[in-house]
């Protein structure tokens, strides 16, 4: 279970940087800071898949970084299975499997070595690591490139390795930042099937995406972030109801255009 309430994060603006006219009109900019995330709240229960939508620069990645403990929030709270990430970040990290927008892999190491390294950082024992990696490599069809160095792999192979790396420690919560961007159709399907398998196991999954068809196919809940605010947070059905035809694209544009009120919590 993931619970986020009133999350906010600002970044200081360097003294030498002058705001452009566009930035001056943007409510997120003040004289000294850029308020990347101003007020984001949502929940994602066990076995739910939550789609995080929003235009580029809306604050999705900053929100996910705070969720994953990479960044500390200025205000608000994040609870991962009742663990306050601000108070107990190390404990919270054990619960989280995070896949960043970059694959985040080491080019000079093989697929096996990359995954095993992160397993060790999560405190797993060697025997446990081997059996878990074998299980994941079978699930993601990775055995044929297990001993290949990452810098010689295709994008699809890298993404599979990154997914295996993110979940090697069997996390209770999985966060994926644009996991299907730039992938071929076959790899996208592997990623989507993997998300489905996590859902089936009762793992809450949050993933940010620009692909509304994936949201329609996978998500139970939808959150739209725009200009640092959670403009919509509700079920997929509630999201579809925002426009008469139930078209996801129209619903998204309607939220962004502020034509609808914030959905049910």
């Amino acid at each position: 279970m993931i619970e986020i309430k009133g999350l906010a994060k600002a970044f200081a603006i360097s003294k030498g940087n002058k705001l452009s006219d566009t930035e001056k009109q943007d409510v997120r900019y003040s004289e000294k800071a850029f308020h990347s995330v101003r007020d984001v709240s949502f929940t994602c229960g066990n076995g739910e898949v939550l789609g995080l939508l929003g235009p580029n620069g809306a604050g999705k990645t900053t929100t996910l970084r705070m969720l994953s403990t990479a960044l500390k929030q200025d205000s608000g709270s994040v609870f991962i299975n009742d663990i306050d990430v601000l108070q107990k970040p190390i404990q919270a990290r054990k619960e989280i499997g995070f896949l960043s927008a970059d694959t985040g892999l080491y080019g000079k190491l093989t697929a096996f070595e990359n995954v095993a390294y992160f397993a060790r950082l999560h405190g797993m024992k060697e025997a446990e690591i081997k059996s878990r990696i074998d299980e994941l490599f079978t699930l993601l069809d990775m055995h044929n490139f297990a001993n290949r160095r990452v810098d010689t792999m295709s994008t699809g192979m890298k993404q599979k390795t990154a997914i295996a790396r993110a979940v090697v420690h069997s996390p209770k919560v999985v966060i994926l930042d644009e996991p299907t961007t730039g992938l071929d159709i076959m790899t996208v399907q592997t990623v989507l099937d993997f998300i489905k398998s996590l859902k089936a196991q009762g793992t809450p999954v949050i993933f940010s995406t620009h692909h509304l068809d994936e949201v329609g196919a996978l998500c139970d809940r939808v959150v739209v972030i725009d200009k640092g605010l959670s403009s919509f947070s509700g079920s997929l059905a509630e999201f579809k109801q925002l426009t008469p035809g139930g078209d996801l694209r129209q619903a998204f544009l309607a939220v962004i255009a502020n034509q609808v009120q914030q959905g049910a919590a």
Binding site: R65, F98, G104, L109, F118, L121, R149
Partner: protein, 400 residues
């Protein structure tokens, strides 16, 4: 921390650039450096020695014996001229009509007869680094003047056999109290320290860039930060890796120097050098390494902090370039003539290490001062490591 350390080390060992900077460069730098310098010097010297200079001699009838000796010298070729004034001769040399002009005064013979000193003029271009011209003339003139002295003394009724004792009644000979090791340590010590410290820096530089800015650029840093490991452990793991490569570079350099030194001594007749090197004990080498340890730690912490701050590989390299100059300056100070290790210089970072290494090589190290250097360098390294750890906790640094 150790997981991070071993992983970083594995990656570095698979990287060609690291292998070049940490292993290949230290192994090859001394033979290549000495080889190139030796070859250039030998070629230039041999070329200069074989060169034949065109000369003119003014009033040669005044000193026919000298003119004859010059004529038969293998490095000189006579050129006829009608010029006589200094300005004309200078202009002719500048126009490449000949290389050197010797002007003997027109009254030399009469002045010689009346036992008066005379001044001869040697006109040539002195810009060459290897000034053999003056040496040739000086040698010939020595022989010639000796003959003149003998003639004059004979005429005065003095036995020419006593010539040396009359001209130079006292000869000062020097007895050197310095051991061979001291001499070699004095001349080699500063250069060795310079090379060792700079190689420590270069050995640390590439891995530091890769482990900070490189991780940011590849997007792996964020993944690492969300692992259930403290940021202190992560940065210390990285620091230890950079430190290891810096020390490995220094160690390989010392071993390479020893091996190449032994090879050169075996082939060339350098028994004195071999004996001097053999007198350097294991304790001296351990002390040298002990001083390099905190020095390498200073570099590792400083470079890692810079790298963590930089957004990209290139940005990190740009920040690090001025650091090389900052390191060279105190090392150059240590190489300055008359620079000695004392309580003051023992507290100047890097200058103290260079001077201490020199003293260790000479075998004249003051162990109290060595302890002071070790303590001050370790304190500085500790402060920089603490800063690096603090730096790695800052969001504004990690997510610039």
């Amino acid at each position: 921390m150790w997981q991070v350390y071993f992983k970083e080390l594995t990656e570095l060992l698979r990287d060609k650039k690291t292998l070049i900077f940490v292993i290949l460069l230290p192994i090859l730098i001394f033979p290549v450096l000495f080889g190139i310098v030796g070859l250039v010097m030998a070629t230039t010297t041999s070329k200069a020695m074989e060169e034949q200079h065109r000369y003119v001699i003014i009033n040669e009838q005044q000193a026919p014996q000298f003119a004859e000796a010059l004529f038969y010298h293998k490095n000189f070729k006579k050129v006829e001229t009608t010029l006589s004034s200094e300005q004309e001769l200078v202009a002719a040399i500048r126009n490449d009509e000949f290389d050197v002009a010797l002007v003997i005064p027109a009254d030399f013979a009469s002045r010689k007869a009346s036992v008066q000193q005379t001044e001869w003029q040697l006109i040539y271009n002195r810009s060459s680094q290897l000034d053999f011209m003056y040496n040739y003339f000086d040698e010939m003139l020595k022989t010639y003047t000796e003959e003149l002295q003998r003639d004059t003394l004979s005429q005065l009724g003095v036995d020419p056999a006593n010539l040396t004792a009359i001209l130079k009644p006292v000869e000062l000979t020097r007895v050197n109290t310095a051991e061979q090791r001291e001499n070699i340590g004095e001349s080699m010590g500063a250069i060795l320290a310079y090379a060792l410290v700079l190689l420590c820096l270069s050995g640390a530089m590439y891995p530091a860039v890769d482990m900070g800015a490189g991780e940011k650029e590849r997007g792996t840093l964020e993944t690492l930060l969300i692992c259930p490991v403290s940021r202190t452990a992560i940065v210390l793991g990285k620091f230890l890796t950079v430190l290891t490569t810096a020390l490995m570079t220094a160690l390989i350099t010392v071993v390479s120097l020893g091996v190449w030194g032994a090879i050169i001594s075996a082939f060339a007749d350098l028994s004195k050098v071999s004996e001097a090197l053999a007198s350097i004990t294991v304790v001296d080498l351990v002390l040298m390494f002990s001083l390099l340890l905190p020095t390498a730690a200073i570099f590792a912490a400083l470079l890692l902090a810079i790298s963590i701050y930089a957004r990209t590989f290139k940005e990190a390299q740009n920040y690090m370039s001025p650091l090389t100059i900052l390191v060279i300056v105190p090392l150059m100070i240590a190489m300055a003539p008359g620079m000695e290790l004392d309580v003051t210089t023992a507290l100047i970072p890097l200058t103290n290490i260079a001077l201490a290494i020199k003293e260790l090589l000479k075998g004249t190290a003051d162990y109290g001062l060595l302890a002071l250097i070790f303590a001050s360098t370790t304190a500085l390294a500790g402060a920089l490591i603490a800063f690096c750890v603090h730096w790695f906790q800052q969001e504004k640094v990690l997510f610039r």
